[in-house]
Symmetry: C2
Subunit: 345 residues, 2 copies
Amino acid sequence: MWTDRQRVEPGGERPDGARRRATIHDVARLAGVSRQTVSRAVNDKGEIDPGTKERVLEAARLLDYRPSRFARGLVQKGAVTAGLVIPDLRNPFFPEVAAGVLEAAEQRGWQVVVWDSRIDDARERQALDVLSHQADAVVGYFKDSDDVLTRHLGGVPLVLLERGPQQTRFAAVGIDASAGVEQGIAHLVEAGHRRIGMLDGEREPGARKQAFLEQVRRHGLPVDESWIVLCPEHSVAGGEAGMERLLEARPEITAVFGFNDLIAVGAMRTARRHGRGVPDDLAVLGFDGLSLGELVDPALTTLHIDKRQLGRLAVEQMARLCAGEEPLRGADAWVTPELVVRESA
Amino acid sequence: MWTDRQRVEPGGERPDGARRRATIHDVARLAGVSRQTVSRAVNDKGEIDPGTKERVLEAARLLDYRPSRFARGLVQKGAVTAGLVIPDLRNPFFPEVAAGVLEAAEQRGWQVVVWDSRIDDARERQALDVLSHQADAVVGYFKDSDDVLTRHLGGVPLVLLERGPQQTRFAAVGIDASAGVEQGIAHLVEAGHRRIGMLDGEREPGARKQAFLEQVRRHGLPVDESWIVLCPEHSVAGGEAGMERLLEARPEITAVFGFNDLIAVGAMRTARRHGRGVPDDLAVLGFDGLSLGELVDPALTTLHIDKRQLGRLAVEQMARLCAGEEPLRGADAWVTPELVVRESA
DNA sequence: AACGCTCACGTGAACGTTCACGAACCCTCA
DNA sequence: TGAGGGTTCGTGAACGTTCACGTGAGCGTT
């Protein structure tokens, strides 16, 4: 015989709001059947009389019964939840990557828990702390070192977004900045530019700055740190501010390469405010290929990235890690930018 | 005595990839302690010798042990997961709403599972089917009727985004379109406009179209269906196409009201392509207040919505539903747009 | 020597569900 | 009348973890 929960609440009824959620037992008792029959009814499996099924469903409705996802997950394997950590949902770049992740995850039947770290290292770690408990794999943008990440990871597979293989032991998915910048600078040089500045976006020199230096030197153009200005804020406003400083430091530039499209758009605005027409007095080249770039005037020439593909690749990597396979390395895990010539350069 | 899982795999070892995940028992056995001691070690609670703790942690690392979130959730209550369904991550409006949801959820210690329904009713229902099993509450944009939603909901609390109280029995959070449009049309009329068209975005007439008709009539301006063109696609391209048709149908318009900023920007582009300067030959008014509107030329005059607030309100509503309280109704659950006059009108 | 206390650890139970199996019942046909 | 088969339903076990206790060793006090 099965003794149902006899645990009587002290003082009779519970306080109203915090009523214990109904379980399958409660429904079974009310409907006068066994758990299993309730299970059959709510999951509409066969082997149940239409009449009792209706009775059970009615009881479930009455008690506002919903099966516990935990109890279910415990016994039925296969539900995969991925974590996605993004620096800033308001930068149009990241929603596009997220869309790729969501799309690929949906195809595999996965769910995705999203975190916006708001460009805050502490919040990144916090996200990891939570997701390491709640997700089967995590993908995202992180600034911390491998060691710090490992400590907050608790063994959950991690895929890093946009971090080169030399910079991490984790599986990664990224952008072939070098190939992109090569196209971009070649385009500028071809158009006759010899004095090119850059608005960088990363405190520690990243792949884009590296590639910029490389390409500019390859073409024998003048360059040193004074040609590069850091924009801590990856936004139009950040680009505007950075461009002010760049024009002050190197007024002789005839072209500027932006860390991303938002910064590049900011650069265009500042240039125009200084009376320098784009592209005639100053060419501007972006990086990302946001659709926003088509709307500004002049339309932004940029290195377009297939952001959805980036997201899809990330999911592919997670799947490999979850299956215990080797992650993709090298070019397979990279997305190659493509030069889109519009009007600004 | 406790017989550990003796269930021998047929044929000896399992195929490589699909190894059963290690449980707390496995770790306990390897470390030569009990489950509880393992639990103490991994959750670093007290009452454990530093030496054994180290030994246990080492065993856990060796077996790649990660506690099952299901088993944990079953015994520890309080983990809340919300579902968020948005129509299109590539429309900059929705990431902002999502950011508000994520922010408010984080503050409450909730997680958010995000779905991009890609403006597809079937995918909306599919999202509900999944989330009703995996989330404690759902918020999102849905086109289906209450009845259809109920059927796919299985009793999970739902908060509808941007659906008026007359249109649904569910809890909702929305925009006071009427108040917004009133400001907008008043602004246009004040500037002398008497022939105003609209680029609508909803197949079944929604609140914005309703409010437009109301306000236009209130000011005694001419209007009927020929002044309103439907843009099925909520994008710049959609706005461009719609504006073509509107200019054909009603070339005499001196101002146009766009369903959202993207459509309004499209309208501006088409207007210009037709040789009509904005705002002098044609005024354009948007709705949403995307930051994108500041970047186009001329900058878009628009009815600005606090999208983050919308997201925060949505979470507040979910919290109330989960607690069994009454949801907010009426003005408390509405966000009022604010006219931002820039250059296009 | 008896007692009490603390520390480190183990044990049964519970969480809520599904799965595999078995039992009871009704119908059919030999 | 009894065997066989289908339909409908119930029962123990298992999933992996934490909680509330219980236990025994070691140590100090009286």
